[in-house]
């Protein structure tokens, strides 16, 4: 059963997809885009989880988390030409029970419309 339109999801953005100036469209191009559900794991916990599992090799740094609402993602897909019904399907994994996927094949043109809609979260500052 697809994730509800009221949920928000995040996409890990590592240094291979962010150069300090632009976001890589390939974050969303293609089928089976990997995302994670904030309803199951908090934003702070996502930072800890992703730091542990996505920073491989160690030179690959987790730079940001990109957040978008599932309903908004759906609306962007429908507004695109040709329109496409984007869904988010739960795909829990051992390392991340909140893991989910966007199964549809996303074109480069559509990815370019999703990227500006992302709310970008920077790494939380370490407390003293």
């Amino acid at each position: 059963m697809p994730v509800g339109a009221d949920e928000n999801i995040v996409r890990a953005i590592c240094s291979d997809k962010w150069d300090g100036q632009r976001l890589a469209p390939s974050l969303f191009v293609g089928a089976g885009t990997s995302v994670s559900r904030l309803a199951l794991t908090s934003l702070d916990d996502h930072w800890d989880l992703f730091r542990q599992y996505v920073q491989k090799p160690p030179e690959r740094m987790l730079e940001m988390l990109g957040e978008i609402n599932v309903g908004e993602l759906h609306a962007i897909g429908l507004a695109h030409t040709p329109s496409i019904e984007l869904t988010v399907e739960p795909r829990p994994e051992d390392w991340n029970p909140a893991h989910a996927e966007i199964p549809q094949r996303i074109s480069r043109g559509l990815a370019n419309k999703i990227l500006p809609a992302l709310k970008r979260h920077r790494p939380p500052q370490a407390s003293c």
């Binding site: 291979d16 150069d19 100036q21 469209p25 390939s26 191009v29 090799p57 690959r60 074109s107």
Partner: protein
């Protein structure tokens, strides 16, 4: 009194045979300058950031990487990108961004003079491109590299 030494004879300093200029010897060739020229073009057109990222991807992403076991950088994709950048002209003051995809291909992203996105993805077996201003998005074979330069990066 000033003493003058006699000029050295032509044979005073001569290289041993192994160190002599190999130009005239059959079967020995000078090292091609192509690699150096390509490096210079990458640095000039992508800047230190883009040039450094390519080296970063080449040196640190040569094994499956990330939580989804991304593919190592494709040498063919890198070759295509280098040839594209060498031939391309980008808008003044704009340096493209370079990204490594999960499939080991390379993305090059920049904006045209109006600020609209232009993007090329270099794969082992071809090229994908996107022109935001027209909405054109297509895949072509790597033999069409020259056409893609003319279409996207010949300002």
């Amino acid at each position: 009194m000033i003493a003058y030494l006699p000029p050295p004879s032509a044979s005073a300093y001569s290289l041993i045979e192994e160190l002599r200029e190999p130009m005239g010897l059959p079967g020995i060739h000078r090292v091609a300058m192509d690699d150096l020229e390509i490096e210079q073009a990458l640095l000039a057109k992508l800047g230190a950031r883009g040039w450094g990222r390519i080296h970063h991807f080449r040196n640190h992403y040569n094994q499956p990487w990330g939580e989804r076991r991304g593919e190592p950088l494709s040498p063919r994709a890198l070759d295509l990108l280098a040839r594209f950048v060498t031939a391309a002209t980008f808008p003044t003051g704009s340096q493209p961004s370079v990204f490594l995809t999960d499939h080991g291909t390379l993305e090059l992203c920049w904006e045209d003079a109006t600020g609209a996105a232009r993007q090329v993805e270099f794969k082992a077996d071809g090229i994908d491109y996107f022109i935001e201003a027209t909405g054109e998005e297509a895949s072509v074979g790597s033999d069409r590299l020259g056409d893609i330069v003319g279409k996207l990066a010949c300002t």
